[in-house]
Symmetry: C2
Subunit: 285 residues, 2 copies
Amino acid sequence: MKELSFFDGTFIQTNEKKVCIEDRGYQFGDGIYEATHVYNGKCFALERHLKRCRRSMRELRIPITYMDEELRAIHEDIIQKSQIKDGSIYFQITRCTAPRVHYFPEKVIPHLSMTMRQSDIHSDWQETGIHAVLSEDIRWLRCDIKTINLLGNVLAKQHAHEKDAQEAVLFRKETNLITEGSSSNLFIVKDEVLWTHPINNFILKGVTRSILLEECAPQLGLPVVEKAFSPQFALSADEMFVTSTSMEVTPIISLEGTTIGKGTPGKVTQKLLQAYHVLVKKECY
Amino acid sequence: MKELSFFDGTFIQTNEKKVCIEDRGYQFGDGIYEATHVYNGKCFALERHLKRCRRSMRELRIPITYMDEELRAIHEDIIQKSQIKDGSIYFQITRCTAPRVHYFPEKVIPHLSMTMRQSDIHSDWQETGIHAVLSEDIRWLRCDIKTINLLGNVLAKQHAHEKDAQEAVLFRKETNLITEGSSSNLFIVKDEVLWTHPINNFILKGVTRSILLEECAPQLGLPVVEKAFSPQFALSADEMFVTSTSMEVTPIISLEGTTIGKGTPGKVTQKLLQAYHVLVKKECY
């Protein structure tokens, strides 16, 4: 199969109509999501994603009506049924379907939808590096929750897309500080130190970000500073890259038309990507 | 009928499953909405709502594939078919259904959904006044677009609901300035001057707000200041009220537990509500 979907307990074709117009996910964006990558028929770092999923639901007070065991089993089922070896799994949980009022309805039965697709990691982007643009971060002040209120991210990514760039680097105008990418976390390497934005309400705690900071960087003996920095500081970096489940570790070779470092993927970036691939191999092969 | 819905050209029951899980409204909140009130079988101020709808779509670059005439006709049809005399009509337009990527897909066919329900204006709230709480405005920086990315509004309204209040008054922490209500525009009357937040990216240009400023206030010879003010300034007001399609002009008699004015609906507020009702009568009866 090329793709397979799931909705509230049943496997479906992706284009089946399963959602009511008064699903709060449809009318308020009242829901959360996760996306994982499947390598060799195995879902990488699923436990970290499930943990974050629970946190997102707790923050929005969506009742957690799925045990981790169930979500894990659905992931295994969709991989098996689709027979996809290498692909991505996206799932979201919305609060419920109810007549439209802003506050939470009394009777809440969350909806779970999921799609698995064949997809390869962009290894070409990893080899050549990508171009990025700067975009004002106009999103809400709870970017730490992985919600489906994603219009700010959508508009930033569209801006990048129109400039033939692959990612938008977001910065807050009030503070002149970079937060993250439109669908990734941003890192720079400067004088052999790894810099990235600290965990707070302005960024999502990316799973790949956590793996890099907790496992890959220590392995390389690479000092890490979790501190926000300006676009100007970023432009003076030796290396720049983004992390995400679908991009893994992907070098940025230009930002807003300015070459970063030597204009080729940096050595530290490449070593981090290699260390990440070792972890993927260990868990999935 | 008590309610009737519509999806992409067909009248449906509200609980029919019509939406695909990859509708971008469901996965990104990538859509816009409008809500109108029907008095005596006639939709009040529909032209203003349709104009704002077009603006929202232009701002998000959702192709406008409906003529105003069509949207007007669908409104008339749903009123006629439902046989509802007094009620509310909600409609939303999402960008399209497409495999999930952040940037806009190439082939875009927007989806239109609509629900009409019996509902009466809360005239009890207008007579007694409502209680409001203060809530930090954590929403994105394009609140001028009426999008379905509404989690910030949802969380604020829920906060009010849990405090037995009927509305949350939002303020930006950075500036200590009130913006608007969680689903309304906020006004105060102080020394016989009407104050409200100016039109910019921090608030929605409410239809009821516009009608008040353009028609009702001039009729009463009431001076208007469109200038942002702090919660402290608001607490010292003689009167406070919110405007929205469903609340019309509704007095606030306490904010965060502090009595506003005399703790009863203010005289200017009542006059503005009367002037508004005259306009409704003129257009719909």
